[in-house]
Symmetry: D3
Subunit: 137 residues, 6 copies
């Protein structure tokens, strides 16, 4: 009986963003988001780890070729996010606050349809070394 193994691939991208809720007053935005609400944006080196769970194929010994997974992450996620302003350049955040929580959900939704349905997918996103998120749970 084949055994399930988790495989992980780490990638990174650099982006600008601003945390803001347009339904709120500037005062409330400032109170809740503090310096993350700077109207001229700030930015991060985001680290992204994609986890797949499945059975290694008998002939290759791979759950998925991590070079192929890396290419897929580049094509599906990094081309949209790397060296971009998440609020202005990425349509998914036109009406969605680009918190780490919302970014990781968007990334998962971009990747999931492009990965074999027999594999479980989970995404971890580091906004800084000290603040990071994971989805789904």
């Amino acid at each position: 009986m084949p055994a399930k193994v988790a495989v992980y691939r780490k990638e990174h991208f650099n982006a600008a963003h601003r945390l803001h809720n347009s339904a709120w007053s500037e005062q409330d935005n400032d109170k809740i988001f503090g310096k993350c609400n700077n109207p001229n944006y700030h930015g991060h080196n985001y680290e992204l780890i994609v986890k797949l769970v499945g059975e290694p194929a008998a002939d290759t010994g791979y759950v998925m070729d991590l070079k192929v997974l890396s290419d897929l992450i580049n094509e599906t996620v990094l081309k949209k996010f790397d060296h971009k302003n998440l609020n202005l350049d990425v349509p998914e955040f036109k009406n969605l606050n680009p918190t780490a929580e919302n970014i990781v959900i968007v990334i998962y939704n971009l990747l999931r349809p492009n990965i074999d349905a027999q594999l479980d997918v989970q995404v971890r996103l580091y906004e800084t070394e000290r603040n990071f998120v994971e989805y789904p749970i």
Copy 2:
């Protein structure tokens, strides 16, 4: 339907400790705890990662503001542990051996009552880069 996301915050503290069981002979303490039983103490740079699981709020996009979580960890844990001798300065270890396992349980019990009951809490503690623990499972 909102989705559950895990958020993580990393903090650190520096402390001295000694592993010792006062019910044992010195010989037994030495046999079991080795150089960790040095009566004059040794110390570590502890790294602490607190994980919360919950649904991001619709208006903020936050499971919990990690700045607020950081302040809470500082107030609840770091003020008691940082630059302290765990055996002598922290009452919880008066009769409890400050192994990494026992420290992580104490930290969880300090944090849990101060965090929204709807959020799951888990704590990881690095004693060194090579030895670390997690609670609860």
Copy 3:
């Protein structure tokens, strides 16, 4: 009621390997495994993290003495793998492709019989900082 805690120990080893399926043509090996199929081998600094889950003993505060676990990993795994050619020097890979997935399963199977059956065991293996695997799930 005692509480379950996870304890982790990190070790490392350096090894050479080659990805290859002897049932395939050279052309197919080259297509699937690319430069990892180099007949003269390449190599890695593997990082290995062993996770045990159990209840800390009342008298020691340890799930397992991590010094003892470290010695066990050295005796059971590192002596076989460190500064070795996985394909040529490690019998387990005589007919098994040494992908990270297969290596982590082999390491788990070497460790599991040597660890208290009341403890759960899981192994994570880093082939590079960007590619890593975990077993079992």
Copy 4:
């Protein structure tokens, strides 16, 4: 005779920026700066290491109290740079392209007058883990 020792303090800040030369055509900016020329900015987690060289004082054993150095870096540099857009929010870059080279020179010039003239000062700045700079040489 007292001996010279180097002491180092590491800090970090998060900022947005854009590489651009307003004297050039858009075509030339795009050719030279590529995706770093995105008009909507991108960003980084900058890591900053300040090195001081001097003789430890006989009574304290300190070249300089690193807590005081940390406070000085926060007051002099981080308040101007953290969670800011370097091009728009930091006057020093109004007419200066915020490359890592130019940022590290600006940071040095902000710090140097605030540090005891008997101490040598050098600054290292990580724009990413893979790209970093140092000044002066």
Copy 5:
């Protein structure tokens, strides 16, 4: 007067090697090189940091475009070394023992003629996180 700045670019490669002196007996090779003398090779994830020192150009703010430096390292060094057996696949080590010291000298000699003579070049090579070398001094 323009100021000199150091810029650094980090790259990596994975390779197999063996330490051996063919003029010595097997016994002497074993005594000096120990397990690094395994005839079937072992391997490493090498980390390579190239440092250039020069004046930033007035129009770009760059000492050298690190994307161009990265491409140059890839073309000049990584194509020869990555996923290779240093002893068998890299002609420079046909009669030269591939210690970290000798590898870093070979890498420097490959890079130096391809970099602007006005820039100083220095190379650091990590064989493991704990063992690394630098050349020239």
Copy 6:
């Protein structure tokens, strides 16, 4: 003509310490050393990097066998410092405040007489990831 190469070996130790000047009042000690003056001590995971500069030998390709250097650091430094209280257990600090600056000078003085006089020696000591020192300059 042989070329000079720097070789580095990284080791670590865990120790307790307290910063204190017995010639001062408690009030002055508290003002200058703050929480580092805790009479019950605190502690650190110290990381130690020893750098040697010399010419690689023609027959080995080594400046110095880093396994031998590691053994020497263990014998000369780590046996005295690891899992110790620097103030109480290490005679060198009986009348010397164990600041990072003073520790790195003591370590250098322990190592220097045991290393070939033709090799230059420099020591870097990390007290935390954010605070570190180097000697000599």
